[in-house]
């Protein structure tokens, strides 16, 4: 399919609404997170900030705006002896890659249908590779912040972040590889189409395993609890952004949440069928575009799935304590990596079994692969756990 070259207007129409939507969603997500965490902890959460100059609370929906205003007007403090240039660049660099990858999520917004050229971003043939390449930049930003702050806690946080992000990149990519193997394409739109035609990959044993690995690695990539070591509050104050305040801190914050959207978006694309859902038919001949019951339904499904994943992230954050740094690395290298390699093998065999087009063989393959994966996971867990288990205690009368 040949495409016309993009004009500036096309690019603006494609990117500006996207950024606005996700900035709004970011605001909403901070509110959602605070509210949900509060309820998990049996508090009320933000409930006062609503419409200014009135007593209408609107469940505290004005809170993100108030926070934003506060952040902007706060004094920007740079520690003496800090590397001012990199101290400034780090939050910007944290935001840019996260924003950039949003463009490659196969989101079918209604307005892009009319502009033929704008389909192109979704048809980037190496979307998945591109995604990982760009998100890898985030590591650099975090370390830059840690180093430039001239603070030992920041430095520790930066070092932790680099180690953690590099380690978890591997299971993250390896679990995405399975989907690429199954579809035979790196194109996000094609991956979605394949899932709409066949089944969502999360429903197969190897897909499920890959999804779990991907999700855990995604938590680690975005520094979410229980892998929030780079910003571990109880150990190293706030990690790499200890010395950030005001708008720079807000940028970090924004970048973190946008990265969350991006990586959940990728998880949705790879495993949860993208914009697929009731009322949506993916058009095989027109890659990535869908026939919808009403315009934008596909995008709504996509965002709903993203929010489902984010809700789970919040839930985990409200429940779990943090891992220790050696356990974190051990978990990546001793548990996730072997399991995802095994998963690739299992998926390969299963793919060949599916090629036979025999229902019985397919069912048997599924059962066997489920058993193999669960057994391997349990075994690895036992190996890693060692002697750690609940103990019995004595009582003296």
């Amino acid at each position: 399919m040949s495409l016309e070259p993009l004009t500036l207007t096309d690019i603006l129409i494609a990117t500006v609404p996207l950024m606005l939507i996700f900035a709004t969603l970011f605001a909403f997500t901070t509110w959602l997170e605070r509210k949900a965490l509060a309820r998990i902890q049996n508090r009320i959460g933000p409930n006062k900030v609503g419409i200014p100059c009135t007593r209408i609370g609107l469940f505290g929906l004005g809170q993100p705006a108030a926070d934003g205003i506060k952040m902007i007007f706060k004094e920007d403090i740079v520690p003496r002896g800090a590397d001012r240039l990199f101290h400034l660049l780090a939050p910007i660099l944290a935001l840019i890659p996260a924003m950039l990858v949003l463009c490659f999520l196969p989101l079918n917004f209604p307005w892009i249908k009319n502009i033929q050229g704008l389909v192109k971003p979704f048809m980037l043939d190496g979307a998945v590779i591109f995604f990982f390449a760009i998100t890898g930049l985030n590591t650099l930003a975090v370390f830059m912040a840690g180093w430039a702050s001239r603070n030992k806690y920041s430095l520790l946080g930066g070092i932790r972040a680099v180690a953690q992000m590099v380690s978890y990149e591997i299971p993250l990519v390896l679990s995405a590889v399975i989907v690429v193997m199954m579809v035979g394409s790196l194109n996000a739109a094609e991956i979605v189409k394949e899932q709409a035609d066949e089944y969502w990959f999360i429903l197969s044993p190897w897909g499920f395993t890959a999804f779990v690995i991907f999700f855990i690695a995604a938590l680690a990539e975005t520094n979410r609890s229980p892998f929030d070591l780079p910003e571990a509050e109880s150990e190293i104050i706030a990690g790499y952004f200890t010395e950030y305040s005001g708008f720079k801190f807000a940028l970090f914050f924004l970048g973190e949440y946008i990265a969350m959207f991006a990586i959940s978006g990728l998880a949705v694309t790879l495993f949860l069928g993208g914009g697929d859902g009731p009322g949506v038919t993916m058009n095989p001949e027109d890659q990535g575009l869908a026939t919808e019951a009403f315009p934008g339904l596909s995008a709504v499904w996509f965002l709903a799935k993203i929010f489902a994943l984010i809700a789970v992230m919040i839930w985990l954050r409200g429940t779990l304590p943090r891992l220790r740094v050696d356990q974190l690395m051990g978990f990546a290298w001793k548990f996730m990596l072997p399991l995802s390699i095994l998963n690739i093998l299992v998926a390969g065999f299963a793919w060949h079994a599916e090629q036979l087009d025999n229902t019985i063989i397919t069912v048997i393959t599924w059962v066997i692969s489920f058993a193999v994966l669960y057994g391997a996971a349990s075994g690895l867990n036992q190996l890693n756990r060692g002697k750690v288990r609940p103990r019995e205690y004595k009582y003296a009368e």
């Binding site: 902890q41 030992k152 520790l156 571990a232 954050r317 779990l320 304590p321 891992l323 103990r391």
Partner: protein, 385 residues
């Protein structure tokens, strides 16, 4: 047998290809989110591993002992509240016990029962919030802490109804208590005590099987039995190191000999953070048993014995100790016949339990140092006095 002392591991800086490395010296505190107050640990790190650690005290020092020596006996009572501000009731009790040893006042029956009830409620408050803080130090986002505070609030309400204040109760007097509990207080306490096990069940479900908590706490901050005894560790921390020693059982002060309760302890010589955490969880159940018995048997009657109007003991020395929630809380008083104590000394369990902080933290990770500090259970008001 020589006393086990701390030795730093023979750590050598690596020099390679002309590149010089050095240790990262981090000053954790005095304002750090998880030093539980203004406490400082000068930590030397090799990467994430703690190579050396020096606790630094004194940021909250107000010379409580000197203050008390320039004050009447009674006037020090409200200051004991501020030692360990989580357990003002047990602090009061220890001080009252020491003063009662000086002048030998009979404590009425009802007051003795109420003292036990207050002390055990305090133990619940302390252990439940300690566990909350401990899990917070592990990195949970305050959820267990806020559940703990939800329940603590109910007990705090009881304290407020009885004594007028939630934390600085100032409720005990030499020879009894300041005032009787209001009408219906015992019923409300019964209700709270009866519902507490449900909460503990929920709490245990949330925490005790969690794989992350297990792997974070087991094998971390091990304290051997010999070192624990030698270093004067007391309270749940001692029992977690495998020594069955509870002053409620040993001294049987007050009327603790009338209650049937068990003392949880571990038999193996591990004594890690998990043991300390679990011993506290189990101790709460035993406290509930004591509370149930005390609330069942409490008689009516006077609340304060015949204490002299002006407290002026003859020259004598007295040392009284109680099993506070944090360990052995002792008061050492020397009277010289004036209305002021000649010497007033607090034996702070928090400070002495910190003796072994360095030994437990060496060659652990920095994240563990925070957890170990959390599991020791310190309150800086008591450490620095």
């Amino acid at each position: 047998m020589s006393s086990p002392t701390a030795t730093a591991p023979n750590y050598e800086l690596i020099q390679q290809d002309g590149l010089e490395t050095s240790l990262l010296e981090v000053s954790m505190g005095p304002h750090h989110p998880s030093t539980h107050g203004v406490f400082r640990m000068d930590v030397k790190l090799d990467g994430e591993t703690v190579v050396d650690l020096q606790p630094v005290f004194g940021y909250l020092h107000r010379n409580h002992e000197k203050l008390a020596e320039n004050m009447s006996y009674l006037a020090s009572m409200p200051f004991t509240d501020r030692l360990d501000y989580f357990n003002s009731m047990t602090n009061n009790w220890a001080y009252a016990l020491a003063a009662e040893k000086l002048v030998e006042i009979e404590v009425p029956e009802r007051a003795e029962y109420l003292r036990v009830i207050m002390a055990e409620l305090t133990r619940l408050v302390n252990h439940i919030s300690l566990v909350g803080f401990f899990i917070n130090d592990l990195g949970a986002l305050g959820t267990p802490l806020l559940y703990a505070f939800r329940e603590r609030e109910k007990i705090m309400d009881l304290f407020e109804q009885a004594s007028g204040a939630r934390m600085m109760c100032n409720y005990f007097r030499f020879g009894g208590l300041r005032n009787d509990v209001p009408e219906g207080w015992l019923d409300r306490t019964r209700e709270v005590v009866d519902r507490f096990p449900d909460f503990l069940d929920e709490y245990e479900k949330l925490l005790c099987e969690n794989e992350i908590i297990l792997s974070r706490t087991q094998g971390v901050g091990c304290l051997s039995r010999d070192l624990a005894i030698s270093a004067g560790i007391t309270g749940p921390m001692l029992r977690a190191s495998g020594v069955n020693y509870d002053i409620r059982k040993v001294d049987q002060y007050g009327i603790y000999n009338r209650f049937k309760f068990r003392v949880p302890y571990t038999d193996d010589d591990v004594g890690d953070c998990y043991d300390r955490f679990m011993i506290r969880m189990l101790e709460m159940r035993e406290s509930i048993e004591i509370l149930k018995q005390a609330l069942r048997d409490i008689p009516g009657g006077d609340i304060i014995g015949k204490a002299p109007k002006i407290f002026k003991p003859k020259p004598a020395e007295a040392y009284a100790r109680v099993e506070g929630p944090k360990g052995e809380l002792g008061f050492y008083l020397i009277a010289d016949g004036t209305p002021k104590p000649y010497r007033y000394r607090v034996r702070p369990p928090s400070l002495i339990n910190l003796t072994v902080l360095r030994d437990m933290c060496l060659s652990q990770k920095i994240a563990d140092a925070v957890v170990i500090l959390g599991s020791i259970d310190i309150v800086l008001g008591e450490v620095d006095r």
